[in-house]
Amino acid sequence: MSRAVPLLQAREVTVSRQGEAGRSQRVLQKTSLEIDAGEVLAVVGPSGGGKSTLLRLFNRLLEPDSGEILLAGINIQTIDPPLLRSRIPLVAQKPFLFSGTVRDNLLASARLRRSASTDLDDPELQELLELCQINSAWLDRDARKLSIGQQQRICLMRALVGPCQALLLDEPTSALDRPMADQLAQTFRELARQKNLAIVLVTHDLRLAELCVDRIALLLDGSVVEEGPATQVLHHPTTAAARQFLSSEPVEHSETKG
């Protein structure tokens, strides 16, 4: 299938890490991936398979040993990291909120980027509040006293305030129970559609992936072994490696783990 320039693209990226006894260990091996605007892509696979490493390459928290990452066709090496990260924010597994109120946290991005201060009355931010299902009654509460699920929604919206084009999510639902995780997954889908965001969701929760994503990439030992529409990858995998992994992690019974 030929497409226009994808919003985010990883081209044959390789990452090694100094392992035990000083031996260099390949974490990613010539991995390639593409994500379009408005699309949710899940990167699934066993822990230690390089999923988080791949995610951290997209906003230059890590640099690849070789290969390149492109944002709208532009090599991100040429983009100043703070600017890049305001376009492609990352939401971590465990929500981290700065001390202060929910409002302080939601407006933190503008402060940290030294950009013009925004106001939550702004219609665009009102829409985001609604999309992220943040109750306006929370705004003046101590952010760290909210529930984990509420905190993760604050983190999500905080990342989206500004000129965001893509969103990186690193196991964002792993601290949540199943109903809450499902709700948040729906939010990801709506965000991608309504804000035309490219979302990369790293997860080991196959059930969740099937629920909210358009495509799935299965990462095993640093390589994408299977990639395609979610149902196809999960139910009709073409490679032996994928079949073996999926049989060990049946979609129906996978649990959200911490």
Binding site: R60, L84, P89, L90, A92, R113
Partner: protein, 260 residues
């Protein structure tokens, strides 16, 4: 004012060393196991100070700048090494950063005091410059160690916070700001406490020394006030430089946190 100084002769020193023997005896009695430490420290003090006394005697007599500068350089070198042995976790480029900070922080403040305030003639007059620099460097060492140690602890504790800020598009400077200001606060606490307790809890060493050697108490007090301001200035400038140069070493060239 009577400026006759009561000299201590060899027998007086022997007499006070008997107090060290008493300490060794007490340590032995309580099985503290410090007999050897006390003995060797006492001996080291004797030899080191005697050597310093002779060196100062010589330098005072020479009346040239070079030996004074040499002594100051050795003092800075020892200060950096002492800080290095005190702190557990050293930042990358530790020696370069701390050396630069002490050189400009302590050196700058001492020079400011000696030339602009006291108006030393010649500027390197060792009788003033060496003891004053010694006090400034010695006191700044505590602040510098605290700054280095606290910065490392803050970066460890605040890793999540700093990375969250980076992921939202923050510059490294802004992301590190809470860690840097907390480390600066820690470095300055001893100076603040010392100034507040000055004269109430203890009579500071320099003032005591000046009074013992016959200086009018009010002059000694003025010197003490001045030196405390210089020390506080030096602690803050040295810590500021360590933190400003040091925080960057926790980040990579592409503005992310270094791996542990």
């Amino acid at each position: 004012m009577n400026t006759t100084i009561i000299n201590l002769d060899l027998w007086d020193l022997v007499t006070v060393y008997s107090l060290l023997l008493m300490s060794i005896g007490l340590a032995h009695l309580l099985k503290a196991g410090q007999n050897k430490d006390l003995f060797w420290s006492g001996l080291r003090m004797f030899v080191q100070l005697l050597v310093v006394g002779y060196v100062l005697h010589l330098v005072f007599a020479l009346k040239t700048a070079l030996p004074v500068l040499l002594i100051l350089t050795v003092m800075i070198g020892f200060a950096v090494q002492t800080i290095g042995s005190r702190v557990q976790v050293k930042m990358p480029h530790f020696y370069r950063i701390v050396g630069t900070a002490i050189l400009f922080g302590c050196g700058g403040m001492t020079f400011f005091f000696c030339t602009l305030v006291i108006g030393l003639e010649p500027w390197y007059d060792p009788r003033y410059l060496i003891p004053l620099a010694g006090m400034v460097i010695g006191n700044s060492m505590t602040g510098a160690s605290l700054a280095v140690e606290r910065l490392a602890a803050e970066f460890k504790e605040r890793r999540e916070e700093i990375e969250t800020a980076l992921c939202l598009g923050s510059s490294v400077q802004l992301a590190a700001e809470p860690a840097v200001s907390s480390a600066f606060r820690a470095a300055l606490i001893p100076s603040i406490n010392a100034m507040a307790a000055m004269g109430l809890v203890f009579l500071p060493g320099m003032m005591t020394g000046q009074i013992l050697s016959g200086t009018e108490p009010l002059i000694a007090v003025k010197y003490q006030i001045a030196i405390m301001c210089v020390i506080t200035g030096s602690v803050s400038l040295t810590s500021f430089l360590i933190l400003r140069l040091g925080y960057r070493s926790y980040f990579t060239s592409h503005q992310s946190l270094r791996e542990d």
